[in-house]
Symmetry: C4
Subunit: 285 residues, 4 copies
């Protein structure tokens, strides 16, 4: 019988991933991210996810959302650009021209949302990374959409979403089952299973995080993690370590804030990202 | 003649209520709150109330309001979700699916507002808590709406609103009268009577707060308290102590701020909630 | 020939005016303020003026403005209520029910703005205070509107606005002329003439301020002062000293900020008001 | 063969330019700036550019943009006034009445944007300064619009925009070529060529900056620089030194923030401007 070894993600991964920037670099070197998120009822998710991506160091971030959310984005994160996700041509251009596409936070499961998920899977390719989160995962499960893009794929379900996606009841979500069912979905996909001590599955490697705290159990925390992953992949490239570093940083900041705060708002994590990236980055190139 | 004993709420109530979180918990453990608040003229009330609920640790907060306020909510508290309270189906789903429903801040007394109050009272049941505040109390008084839900009921009137609700002139609002008239409205309802040294009535127990200061005499302070109560009930459960702790924390933060501020804005109380919850929580489980 | 004695306003005025609050007071004791301000092009003026009034301690503040500015107000100062100044009935109710009415910041000189100025002058009476600022002063000068209300009147022109109002060229704006021409407009009006070392004229008393600095020479500073005056009159009552204290506090905060800032934004003054009111208030009642 | 001497801009330029303000000055002394910026997709650029101009000390700043962005501007920088750039009469008045006109950030290259660029070049004259940035530079290159205004001209391209404008490939962008091609466009224009160690060309003088860091490689950084230049020219007058000081301050703040932040958001630079201007200003006049 196959044995799955669970690696514990260590803080070292931060300095391995967060390397000093080349002095002669410019914003084009730090990647272009498209975040497809938000809907009338869930506007804040688009705000938090894009803000997290920008605070994490992505060079350029565009949010594809419903235009009624543009003002909130312009106020909370003026560094982000916006496109109307009802505009098929602009959306397609956005999907093709960005290295990282994150889809799902606050998207809902409307017909439009379903079309957006399909558009991403159908129009991305090898040198891109697609992060599927939240509503996008529900849509994929409900519509049985195959994960057929040649882009790198990152799935970020919580346990309930993973159940819908993998058909594994929460009690069945043990390492071997998770790994097997992930590979059935797509053998090259990377899975971030969000839970107490979140786990990452990628090819044969399984790792988990042991930082984090229950003060982080607030709405929007997942949208924020997705934004950090997007920002990190955009600038450091897709790899298991990049995703591990994103997950670790998110929880590490949460733990620091938890020392003095009973609950931790996603917004408060986001504003600390640039400082903690500096703190944990390797000092020399 | 009946004697009413007035208990003074002590700071101990905070550590009794604000217990450490279970490390293996997730946001679903901290309750779902629906805040029905705001109208064209009083948009800020919805912002403050929902922001207070989230800063107080509610797991998930949805604001049912008029859609013209969605942008303000997405900006000020992106962690909140929104629903249009004109959408009867979405509203009813929200009422049924949330454990705590707070209604009233900035709602006004329009026909729509009246319908919202009735919808809450008609569609909530045993395992839920309904907090009736501000305009909701005026509507109940004006329309003589019976408090017939089987949900837990918390009423949060200031003295003028209590006069309308109880038919007690302010000079008549002594303990025995308040208790008697509250029991006539609903013998199981909990009353927070907001005044200098606010009082709480629940069954046979009467308690009052002796912290707080006149720098807190600013518009929006009541909306903020309602949000804190909602957040506390959502995560710590409905009980007299939970409401006492909410009221105490609100005034305690106000007192701390008053040391260096002549007036205290509700917004400044809200942002301090996570820190003061940490400070006063019991250290061990 | 008449001699005008110019008093220098001293810092003592702050502790004389900013007295400790009665512990048993509530928000109704700190006055209701209506701010009629803002237009499509000048929305920020309404935001800054109302925010200043609330940070200065007014009990309740309502902003009458164009509805397209409601979202900005809900975000920046959720404590404020709003009314649409195109709604004549709501506006008239607002004028009648507030103790202090400040009109002018960012109002523009449209036909609607003219009607608003007239509505204020025609519908206020003895126990109220009307603060006429910015566009309202231009309208009064252009339309030769008599200052006929029996309410207390405060005029807050800069030198150019005072020229239009008094027909005094800036070089002619010496004490005796200012006093004479003010009394012609209305012998009981109080004039705050904004300039380097601003002057206050009221009956026979003339005083000037010697604090303040050129870092405060930024757009919106006047709107902020108007808000402070409104908040102070609402809570401390109309008097020469109240206005002197408002003016002094505004410049004193500006001087403190100027120690470390080359320019001072109105927004940065506003957020400091509660702290400086505490610092300068008399400690005992 | 002509030799181009490259001067290194020293920190001294800050104290030479940022001189103490005359105590008797008022906001009119610090210049009026019109920023023509923003479009549906790029609203944040207008917010950041105008906010930078105001934090840099411009007396009065008006933003000409699409009205859907007014709320974001009213919230993020209430000190700014707004005009709808579709309103030709208001726009023309704005162009004529402001001393500094900055055009381009987030403007896009629509027909309307093209008309705006032409309107600026056709209606400005000797005593004004026109800053052409971002989309405005692309439009000028694409439409081959001659730089014929008699106003002072500042061009702020990054290398890709300069390539389009000068027809110099990035590898050809050496000092002599840059100078020659700039003089062909307009012999009196000042060029800020944004790159690692940005360069300034003006008449026969070529200077470069050696501060700055790759943490500043984030979207919106250029919009922010444009706002600083606009604010500096408005208050200190057009000169090579004024532009050098703007560029130096921007990078100097970036370097300070980089000590503790891996990435630097434009918004975080903007809020520090007043403090750093105070720190580097000459202490006496």
């Amino acid at each position: 019988m196959e044995v799955v070894v669970m690696e514990k993600i260590s803080k070292n991964v931060l300095s391995q991933v967060i390397t000093p920037r080349d002095p002669e670099s410019y914003k084009g070197n730090y990647g272009k991210v498209l975040i497809i998120a938000g809907s009338t009822q869930f506007g804040g998710a688009a705000v938090m996810c894009s803000s997290a991506a920008i605070h994490s160091g992505a060079g350029l971030v565009t949010v594809a959302t419903t235009p009624e959310k543009f003002t909130a984005i312009n106020v909370k994160i003026p560094e982000a650009m916006t496109i109307d996700y009802h505009d098929k041509k602009a959306l397609l251009t956005g999907i093709i021209n960005n290295q990282v596409i994150a889809i799902g936070p606050g998207l809902g499961t409307s017909t439009i949302a379903k079309g957006l998920v399909k558009a991403v899977l159908n129009n991305t390719k090898t040198d891109q990374t697609v992060i599927l989160d939240a509503s996008a995962l529900t849509i994929i499960a409900d519509e049985k959409i195959p994960l057929q893009t040649t882009a790198n794929i990152i799935l970020t379900p919580h346990q309930g979403e993973w159940q819908r996606l993998s058909n594994l009841a929460i009690t069945e979500q043990i390492e071997l089952n998770n790994k097997t069912n992930l590979h059935e979905l797509n053998p090259d996909a990377l899975l971030v299973l969000k839970k107490h001590q979140s786990e990452i599955y990628y090819h044969d490697q399984v790792s988990k995080i042991t930082v984090g705290n229950p003060g982080m159990a607030t709405g929007g925390m997942g949208d924020t993690l997705t934004g950090i992953i997007a920002g990190f992949v955009a600038q450091f490239g897709f790899s298991l370590k990049t995703v591990q570093a994103s997950l670790f940083l998110h929880s590490e900041i949460g733990d620091k804030l938890n020392e003095k705060n009973y609950v931790i708002l996603p917004s408060s994590i986001i504003e600390k990202i640039p400082k903690y990236m500096a703190k944990f980055s390797s000092k020399e190139k």
